[in-house]
Amino acid sequence: MRNLHHISGPIRTAVLLGAFVLLCVQGATAQSDLENVLKQYTETTVKGYIQPMADLFGANMHSGLYPSASVPQTGLSIRLTIVGMGAMVGDDQKNYSLALPPSFAQRTMQAPTVFGPKATVVRDPDTGLEFKPSDGIIDATLFPLAVPQLTVGHIFGTEATVRFITTPSIGSGKFPKTTLWGLGARHSVSQYIPESPVDIAVGFFYSSFTVGDIIDFSGVTIGAQAGKSFGPLDLFGGFSWEKSTMNLSFTPSAAGSPSVNLDLDGENTVRFTAGAGLNLSVIRLYADANFGAVTNFSAGLGFGF
């Protein structure tokens, strides 16, 4: 930390935030033990356990993409932003109905999802058999994600954004390598409407996230934003269509079980966004709330010009 003192304030803050984000992403994403948990399930039973992650991560992937609705027509601009997102984990995303083995008189049990509590043992009184699913692994009221993103503009009222972060396997293989990347563009619509009282833009973004060897996310969002600036304060809102898919591909650990290759769609397909930002010259801050099937929030801290 002392070695960072000779670096100027905003850059030092960016370095610290970057390190913080790396640490947090490693702590918040899947790990090899998660992969081993998934391998205890079949194609039929794994869906209930992991679906909430598909829903929440899918919603996070498409958040925090813009700090305002304004996209200048011309002028070089480069901005590096650390974006943090969090999706609310609902109580209904902590348990699911899991079919019990054939010999149990009780046909189903409430089993924990990946966000669920400790699992309990179910005992069949007629046969003496016992069954227990795996515990939930992530204890969360808000499921987070963080990523640095670089935005470059502007040509004909267009800017491009890329996101990328990769984290190595740590903890003696407990956490697998993760890689997230995304790219997209926004284009100013209000430039074609000289008298427009507000800034209007449209854009798209594609994201991909790989966790270890068996989980792959991908998603795309297309949306429109409108907003207005009041001095350094930006107010904006947006509407977008999105699709996210979590692909699970693995062979269950139980010998002879058929391989699983399953696509789970995220619950969010449309979202409304409301947000505000502060444009403080080199530093740009923004935060927004997103409402759809999944409610989530994002905030960004950007440096650039």
Binding site: P102, S103, F131, D135, T141
Partner: protein
């Protein structure tokens, strides 16, 4: 002002991440089916014996896990045919032994239509729903469950041998098989060190 805003944002991020953590410790319920699968290709008889080292079965998932087991259990006992012929019946016996001891009869089934061996096949519940055709040996069953259902760690046996033998009422085509399975589970506790 800028540094205040930045610090506020960092505190917000810390709070967000504070709302999410990896559960420590957590339990993976390992699915460890113990099978005796026999081929009855182009014939009408089968006889198959398989022996499992319990630690080895757990190590197949992770070599770290055998030392992290804190409970084991049996969640079913089934006999099934993966691809049963349309017509015919099967009659057979399933036996087991611990640590190389003598085989003990666990169950017998008599003249079971192939159709009832489809999918999950017959299970321990079949002794209640179909007592005329599926008979479990109560003492052997109690011993099996007593040994393999351990709430303190690995069972106090190292190996289990499962044997399945019997015959069908008709010659079955190539590719026909029959399996006896003990659905065994072991809880590996991860973290908590």
């Amino acid at each position: 002002m800028k540094s205040t805003v930045v610090h506020l944002l960092m505190m917000t991020l810390v709070l967000v991440w504070g709302a999410c953590s990896i559960v420590d410790p957590f339990v993976i319920a390992l699915d460890l089916p113990l099978d005796a699968c026999a081929s009855i290709n182009d014939g009408s008889n089968w006889n198959e014996t398989s022996t499992y080292d319990i630690r080895d079965e757990i190590s197949r998932i992770s070599t770290d896990y055998p030392d992290k087991i804190h409970a084991t259990r049996v969640n079913d006992i089934t006999v099934y045919m993966p691809n049963p012929p349309a017509t015919g019946t099967g009659t057979g016996t399933v036996r087991f032994a611990f640590d190389g001891g003598g085989l003990t009869t666990l169950l017998t089934f008599t003249n079971l239509p192939f159709d009832s061996l489809r999918g999950n096949g017959i299970s321990l519940r079949s002794r209640i729903t179909n007592p005329d055709q599926v008979v479990f040996n109560p003492a052997a069953l109690a011993n099996l469950l007593n040994v393999l259902q351990d709430s303190t760690g690995l069972p106090h046996v190292n190996t289990i041998t499962l044997s399945s033998s019997g015959f069908t009422s008709v010659n079955v085509p190539q590719g026909t098989g029959i399996c006896a399975r003990i659905h065994f589970q072991a809880d590996a506790e991860i973290g908590g060190e």
